[in-house]
Amino acid sequence: MFNAQPDRALDVSGLGKRFGARWVLRGVSLDVRRGEAVGLLGPNGSGKSTVLRIVATLLRPNAGAAAVNGFDVVREAGGVRGQVGYLAHSPGLYDDLTARENLWFAADMLGSPHAAAEATLERVGLAHVAGDRVRGFSAGMQRRLALARLILRNPRVLLLDEPYSNLDADGVALMNSVIAGILRSGGAALVALHELAPARAMLKRTCTLVAGRIEAPSPERASRDQPVPIPGTD
Amino acid sequence: MIESNQTFIIAAYAVTWGAMLAYLVYLLRRGRRARAEYERMAPGDRNTA
């Protein structure tokens, strides 16, 4: 249907979605190239989360189409699910299970060894609370555990919904290092954001979603001009 | 025995016709309301005679 150029990690064209009588997306088009992180700005209810959930094959669009590395989100949903890592607004963890059990469950579902789960627990700095139930975790700690689960998938395309919310300074650095790692290895990221600050370093460019449509994307040249070293990459 | 059967037979046919006519009226009313709603929404663009 649309020509999936090799460098296009994510290609969205004319996406429409309605809930009952309300159209939330009215023809959204955007693309993200490999090695690039694009910010998706916009007020609450502008449809940012809806775009991410359609690309993550969680929602079926009413109009238009989207593809991740050439896999159509509707017809080749299985293929897309192997490519993307979707960090939702709500952590989606099991409160009665411990951090380790949550990750081991994710590892089993992904078919990766439990050792990999232990390593990611280490990386997100939750090794010391691995045996505690998630019910007692702060929002920031739950966000880190959700990030650990995301890393386990080693996704090619990141779909991040307000990734920096509830994160302290270290958390923001950790999130940025994870994103940078994926970008360096040829992945891509679409990041839905309220305010730009924590992600400024990451984003190649941004586009703004207002009432279900993309406003004129921020001038390419402006955000490219300030080449910002990617902080804290080991 | 015959008289009481008579009433039940009449009752059966009355119920049958009652149900059929009631549903017909319901359809006509709902149809008119739906058409009026559509008319309000998109005046005159109905593509049929």
Binding site: A21 | M1, A19
Partner: protein, 235 residues
Amino acid sequence: MPATPPSPHSYPPRTSVWFAFVSFGAVIAAQTHAILTSPAEGDMGHLQKIMYVHVPAAWMTFLAFFVVLVFSARYLWKRNENDDLLAASAAEVGALFNGLTLMLGMIWGRPAWGVWWVWDARLTSTLVLFLIFVGYLALRAFVDDAEQKARWSAAVGAIGAINVPIVYMSVTWWRTLHQPPSSPATLDPAYTMGLRLNAIALLLVMIHFIRKRYEIARVERAAEHVAEAAAMGGR
């Protein structure tokens, strides 16, 4: 880039009124013919005459459910919204005929067996079928998103229909000792003609009802889409 997705839902053609007259006329003709020609059957007096409305109504119920099954399966396969609307229309009309069948069964049972309700195999199966219809219509009432409503009711409609023969078999076994269900085979030929004519006439009525209800559903859906497109347009 299309500002507003085009409304794919054309405005349905209007079902002609003469079909209503034809179908209702056919029922009048079939009923009068059956009543005049049906011989009184022994002590049951003319009770058999209730058969001419009760049995066709039961047949129409099962036929309506079959339509729900076919178009539910088709929707799951093709995802064409009109199949969902037709299945829903058939379900509503089917529920109507089902309720009618039950009431007529009771009106026949009172003089014939002396009680309003008898756990007779066919009557009980029809009652269970009515509950399955109610479940289907309740699901449609409780789900808002049109696409999800269509998908879920298609699944429930198809699985409900698969259960109809099993329900019928289990209830019949459960009531093995009772009078075998009155299908044309067990009646003397004089009735079968009257029965068949009435069944055809009632079929015409059901077709009219389903077509009319389907047309209304499409008008309502078209209005919904126009409203959305207008709201979306935002010009």
